[in-house]
């Protein structure tokens, strides 16, 4: 059977308490919902001296909307996003992404912070957050920093979070009047995704006013953001797709249990193509 190794359990109620404990311990594991952390413990991939439960820290449970600025606390359960986020397009993309994570049981346990902090290329939220240029809000003893999500991930399963720091939540600007698309592909349900693509675009009279896309997944690695600023016309769809296909061709894709490199590239082309069609085609 799979059972976690022994550890000390520390429940924290305030950020200060968290910082104090996190700085004392060598390698504590942070737990909010548990889906990610408990599985790692059961697999004994990690053997932390202590597990710090952050689920009771008020700042991490907040949702703040300030004009067009949205902050989602790290403890927010994934299933709740659909009910609490505003109606703008950026939030719509986040909801689309969150509602496809695992099954309802995973979404009702799992938190935003867990999905963002693991750094697994198959995690959903990082792709949506990358597409809307969200920021990671990082807390530490001496203050708060805002880091673009694009620089939050160093490589798969490695983020910039240091000892004693904590992801307080994510922050983004509302976007209005955009079209959104979220596409992903898996071979086995509740397994890794071959590819994930998120797209959001604003079009006025056949002119692309704003167009952002991000991609991740097992075949891709950590989330990548595409620079699409040079395109301004909707009728450039074909060129845009080709540009992104060219990018896919530069990635090193491995043959593995999810398929051959050829197959996985076809998956990525398909996801990209579908997402672009959904946001740019009328």
């Amino acid at each position: 059977m799979k059972v976690p190794p022994d550890f000390k359990y520390l429940r924290t109620y305030t950020l200060d308490e968290y910082y104090e404990k996190a700085n004392q311990l060598s390698l504590p594991l942070i737990i909010s919902g548990g889906t990610v952390a408990v599985l790692m413990l059961k697999n004994r991939i990690i053997r932390p001296e202590a597990v710090i439960d952050i689920s009771q820290i008020p700042e991490l449970n907040m949702l703040k909307i300030d004009k067009d600025d949205v902050f989602i606390g790290a403890n927010t359960k994934l299933y709740k996003l659909k009910n609490v986020l505003p109606n703008d397009s950026a939030s719509e993309l986040i909801v689309k992404s969150a509602s496809t994570i695992g099954d309802i049981a995973i979404r009702s346990m799992g938190s935003v912070g867990g999905n963002v902090c693991l750094g697994d290329p198959s995690n959903d939220l990082p792709v949506a957050l990358t597409a809307i240029d969200a920021q990671a809000v990082i807390g530490k003893k001496d203050g708060i920093t805002y880091t673009p999500i694009t620089s939050f991930y160093i490589k798969p399963f490695k983020t910039i979070l240091n000892k004693g720091e904590i992801l307080l939540g994510v922050n983004y600007k509302m976007l209005n009047g955009y079209r959104t698309s979220y596409k992903k592909h898996f071979i086995n349900f509740l397994d890794h995704y071959v590819g994930i693509v998120a797209a959001i675009a604003k079009i006025e009279e056949n002119t692309i006013k704003d167009f952002r896309m991000a991609m991740a997944g097992e075949a891709v690695g950590k989330p990548v953001k595409f620079d699409l600023s040079e395109f301004s016309k909707v009728d450039e769809i074909k060129t845009i797709k080709e540009r992104l296909f060219d990018y896919v061709n530069t990635i090193h894709v491995e043959n593995n249990r999810f398929g051959t490199a050829n197959y996985k590239k076809k998956v990525l082309y398909t996801l990209i193509s579908r997402a672009i069609d959904e946001v740019l085609k009328f």
Partner: protein, 152 residues
């Protein structure tokens, strides 16, 4: 450490290691054996329970995380050891075979029928994903839960 959980309306308190999984507390401390362990990685739903009304997989949670919350297991879905609507329908339609998945489908089926709106086959099919039945090909389970949920 002392762990105190409320399961099916009853408080259970026990001195346990913090690493104890919620499913083991339910089975071994509370003695409620209807919640099963099928895959240990959240792939199968045999360990599903309701936590403050939401379905969760109790093999992916520490028991201590469930402190202060209301846990409902398959045994607590109806009053006094009976069957609720979903359980009754699953039984009448002979939807299950080996029965090891009973907790999963009872819990998720109940949750769907009480919470999902505008129910159809497709919604139920997607809602049940995450609970494995290895025996039946899912057909009778999907039909049965759809029928109950439509009548809610």
């Amino acid at each position: 450490m002392k762990i105190k959980l409320n399961i099916n309306g009853t408080d259970y308190e026990s001195e346990e290691e913090p690493r104890m999984l919620l499913v083991d507390f339910i089975r071994d401390v509370a003695g409620l054996k209807g919640t099963h362990v099928g895959c240990e990685t959240g792939s199968c739903g045999a360990c599903m329970v309701l936590l403050d009304g939401m379905p969760v997989k109790s093999c992916l949670m520490l028991a201590v995380q469930a402190e202060g919350k209301k846990i409902i297991t398959i045994e607590g879905l109806s009053e006094k050891n009976g069957l609720n609507k979903v359980q009754k329908a699953l039984s009448e339609k002979k939807a299950l075979q080996c029965g090891f998945c009973a907790a999963g489908f009872s819990i998720i089926g109940t949750w769907i029928s009480e919470n999902e709106k505008n129910i159809d086959d497709k919604k139920v099919k997607e809602g049940l994903a995450g609970v494995v039945c290895r025996c039946s090909g899912y057909d009778t389970i999907i039909k049965t839960i759809t029928e109950v949920a439509k009548n809610e």
